[in-house]
């Protein structure tokens, strides 16, 4: 058995060598060639794979690989030329379908041929560095079909035409397109790019250039953007349907360039519909569309941001410099807040909460709020208004919201110390008149100021609250100590204010009515008796009083008046008619204050408890005053406000300004000393820069003032000038 097997093996080996018949190769190739023809003619069912494989195997084994390979090339080329002719002959719209059909057939044939010739693919081709069968088939297809002169241009034109039809709204055979494009991609990226993608992008560029021209002439900005967005989405969809995914970036670039970038500036500035109009009309959808489209091109967002910034600055500037607006500070601030809300909402809804946009918005606000030197005062007045009445009956959360908004405006202020000054004044008035709506709200705002600006900023404000609290206890103690001795006279409520914590007031005295004076003296004795080494001065300009008055026909009212007004009114307990001079002499109130107080008593409609002769709006030194018997009011309680413009008058403003400047001096000096202590030697410009940096959270110091402060410090021998370089300063310890 084993020996027989051996023989078998020897015979087999021998058989191989035997086949050197020169006709053998020719004969075998004929069989294979015939098979290839049959395969292309869809006649393969009769063929035996094993036989063909064996023949190809043997040809390669017997060194006829070269013949086999070249035979394959020429046979396949022959068939492809036939195919080219038949594709070329196809009529109009059938062209692509014929091409596609032939391509599928070729692919199938190629697969079969490769399988049969697999042995050649495996051994002969790698060793001779020839193109593998499959790739060879694709190359031959490319050279003979796609790059045949007739078909090449026709294919390109047909494809582009179909794309154009689809852009025009026609329905096309997407599947066919996908197959043809897939074919081009299968033939290699170079074929796809050269024969389709490049011309496609060129044609698209021309098309969109034309279309954008046409649109921009006849559409408004919003419509144009809608159209551009639609086109962009169409192209993206087209890529996903039947183009190479890599083409998406390229084609969207074309659309972006032609439809957005080249028309961007014109769109933004379009009359009646451009960016500014969208912002004014709160067109969130359009704005959002613009943002998303412009984001795609390099400087798109910058353009939007710049135009928006310009617009905000312009409108803001108008707002803060409009003399009409300056009349009502509360409305002024409310408008600022509305403006801020409006743009916040736009950025939130349309601009994707873009940080750079938020920054632009903030810097714009900072820019124009500080254009108006009265902004700090107005913001404080706004808070004052809110805390006096605006927040009555409002829930805690809403109060917080309002306060947060105020803080936001506060952050924009450069002169925070001016705000502090006014805030202190307004807070003082609120506390002393007991007009604050909610102590929680007050404290909450102070806490916010503290977190924003530090302890120093609010320590005095907090001191004011402490004084109020202590005064309550003091008053309680006072009444307990006095006991029944006081029940007859007027009720006195004293707030003991620490000097320094409260806005400094020039001490103006006046003659208090004797009834009041007695109680006041009792209190003074009590207070000084319990606290050693203190000094009390009466701040009559800050007090208020409730007095009961009986008018003609027995009508009774309670009048809420200031201390000065009370003093004047008390005079009429004993007289019905007094001249200005007489009043002035009796009460000794400074003339401006007195005039103001008389004006509110005699000239305010519905609150004129005094009558004046002659009747006029202003108080003259020659005027006479009468007790107004006919006064009547719907209410029992009548509040007689002083005619104080809530806003400061021009001289007051100057005064406050001066005080602020005065207060800044020590702060600047302190900053200079701090810096010099650390640096020892520094030149002038650097000092100015550092001081500005240190103080910018409170105010923007004026370089001239800094220079003056430096000079003053040199005088007081904190610093000295360098002997050689006069620009250098040295710190003297």
């Amino acid at each position: 058995m084993s020996s027989q097997k051996k023989r078998n093996f020897q015979i087999e080996a021998f058989k191989h060598r035997v086949v050197v018949d020169p006709k053998y190769a020719e004969k075998t190739w004929k069989i294979l060639e015939h098979a290839i023809h049959e395969i292309y003619n869809h006649n393969a069912s009769g063929l035996s794979f094993e036989e063909l494989y064996r023949n190809a195997y043997n040809m390669v084994l017997h060194k006829f690989g070269e013949k086999l390979y070249s035979g394959l090339v020429s046979t396949m080329t022959l068939h492809l030329k036939e195919i080219a002719a038949s594709v070329d002959a196809s009529q109009g719209p059938l062209f692509l379908e014929e091409l596609n059909r032939k391509w599928l057939e070729h692919n199938k044939a190629l697969q079969m041929i490769r399988d049969i010739l697999m042995y050649m693919d495996r051994t002969f081709i790698p060793s001779t560095h020839k193109t593998p069968v499959h790739e060879l088939g694709l190359n031959l297809w490319r050279d003979n079909i796609i790059h045949s002169p007739n078909i090449q241009t026709r294919l390109k034109d047909t494809l582009l035409e179909i794309v154009q039809k689809e852009r025009g709204g026609e329905v096309i055979n997407k599947g066919l397109m996908r197959n043809i494009v897939k074919m081009l991609m299968d033939l290699g990226p170079a074929v796809y790019q050269d024969d389709f993608e490049k011309p496609f992008l060129d044609v698209s560029g021309t098309f969109y250039r034309g279309e954008s021209q046409q649109f921009i002439e006849c559409c408004d900005c919003g419509d144009y953007l809608k159209k551009a967005e639609k086109r962009l989405n169409e192209e993206i969809e087209r890529v996903s349907h039947y183009l190479d995914a890599k083409s998406e970036v390229k084609i969207t670039n074309v659309v972006e360039k032609e439809m957005i970038e080249s028309q961007m500036t014109r769109l933004v500035h379009m009359e009646n519909s451009g960016l500014v109009n969208m912002i004014v009309d709160d067109k969130y959808d359009d704005l959002s569309r613009m943002y998303n489209l412009f984001r795609r091109v390099a400087s798109g967002l910058m353009l939007i941001r710049d135009v928006m910034t310009c617009h905000i600055r312009e409108t803001g500037k108008q707002l803060v410099t409009d003399p009409e607006r300056l009349k009502d500070p509360v409305d002024f601030v409310q408008r600022l807040l509305d403006e801020k809300d409006k743009h916040d909402k736009i950025i939130n809804l349309a601009f994707n909460n873009d940080k750079t946009f938020q920054n632009a918005l903030n810097s714009s606000f900072e820019y124009f709020i500080n254009l108006n030197p009265r902004s700090p005062e107005f913001i404080s007045l706004f808070v004052d208004d809110k805390l006096r009445k605006g927040l009555k009956g409002v829930s805690e959360e809403d109060v917080e919201i309002v306060l947060d908004k105020v803080m936001m405006l506060f952050r924009y202020l450069q002169e925070k110390d001016v705000f502090e000054k006014y805030y202190k004044q307004h807070l003082a008035k609120r506390l002393l008149s007991g007009k604050s709506v909610s102590e929680d709200a007050e404290r909450s705002l102070i806490l916010k100021l503290k977190t924003e600006c530090g302890y120093q900023f609010t320590s005095k404000l907090e001191g004011m609250f402490t004084d109020m609290k202590t005064s309550q206890d003091t008053m309680q103690g006072f009444y307990e100590a006095m006991g029944p001795a006081l029940t007859d006279g007027p009720t006195l409520a004293v707030h003991v204010l620490t000097t320094g914590s409260w806005p400094t007031q020039s001490t103006t005295t006046c003659n208090l009515p004797p009834e009041i004076l007695t109680v006041c003296d009792k209190f003074r004795t009590y207070y000084l008796g319990t606290h050693n080494g203190r000094r009390l001065t009466w701040q009559t300009n800050m007090g208020s009083a409730d007095i009961k008055a009986t008018f003609g026909r027995g009508q009774k009212n309670e009048l809420n008046v200031s201390t000065y007004q009370m003093c004047v009114l008390m005079l009429f307990n004993t007289a019905d008619r007094l001249s200005y001079k007489e009043i002035e002499q009796a009460v000794e109130i400074p003339a401006t204050e007195l005039k103001r107080c008389l004006q509110s008593l005699a000239c305010a409609k519905g609150k004129n408890v005094l009558r004046k002769e002659p009747m006029s709006k202003d108080i003259g030194e020659e005027d006479d005053f009468f007790f107004n018997d006919k006064f009547s009011s719907k209410f029992y309680k009548v509040k007689i406000g002083t005619v104080v413009a809530q806003k400061e008058s021009e001289p007051e403003k100057q005064e406050t300004r001066q005080r602020v400047e005065e207060d800044r001096k020590p702060q600047i000096e302190a900053a200079i000393v701090r810096i010099m202590k650390a640096r020892r030697v520094l030149d002038h410009n650097n000092i100015v820069a550092e001081v500005t940096k240190q103080l910018q959270s409170r105010f923007l110091p004026n370089p001239v003032v800094i220079k003056k402060r430096i000079e003053s410090l040199i005088e007081r021998e904190f610093l000295e000038r360098d002997r050689e370089d006069r620009k250098l300063y040295r710190y003297l310890a």
Partner: protein, 98 residues
């Protein structure tokens, strides 16, 4: 065994081996014969005739197919080859691309 899952391999002497298709497909050549597009005779009849492979060798080859499947699924055993079959088997292996 269903008819569709099997294939008939026929040796030079006319012996028929009916084996699992997936076993036969261990050979890349047989796999191509059975799966190539277009209707070759082999695909249609589900049988392959090997006029140059003797029965002995084809039997060994079929054994190898099954052994190879087991080996691939993790059962590592020796596959015994009689020395006198070696050369012929190697040639067949080259032909069948296994």
């Amino acid at each position: 065994m269903k008819k569709e899952d099997t294939v008939k391999l026929i040796s030079a002497e006319g012996f028929e081996f009916v084996i699992d298709k997936n076993a036969a497909m261990v050979s890349q050549t047989i796999r191509n014969m059975l799966t190539s597009p277009g209707d070759f005779a082999e695909t249609e009849r589900q049988e392959v005739r090997f006029p140059e492979i003797s029965t002995t060798i084809l039997e060994k080859i079929c054994q190898y197919f099954y052994w190879s499947l087991q080996y691939a699924s993790g059962k590592e055993t020796e596959f015994h080859i009689e020395p006198e079959l070696t050369l012929e088997l190697m040639m067949a292996a080259n032909y069948l691309h296994t």
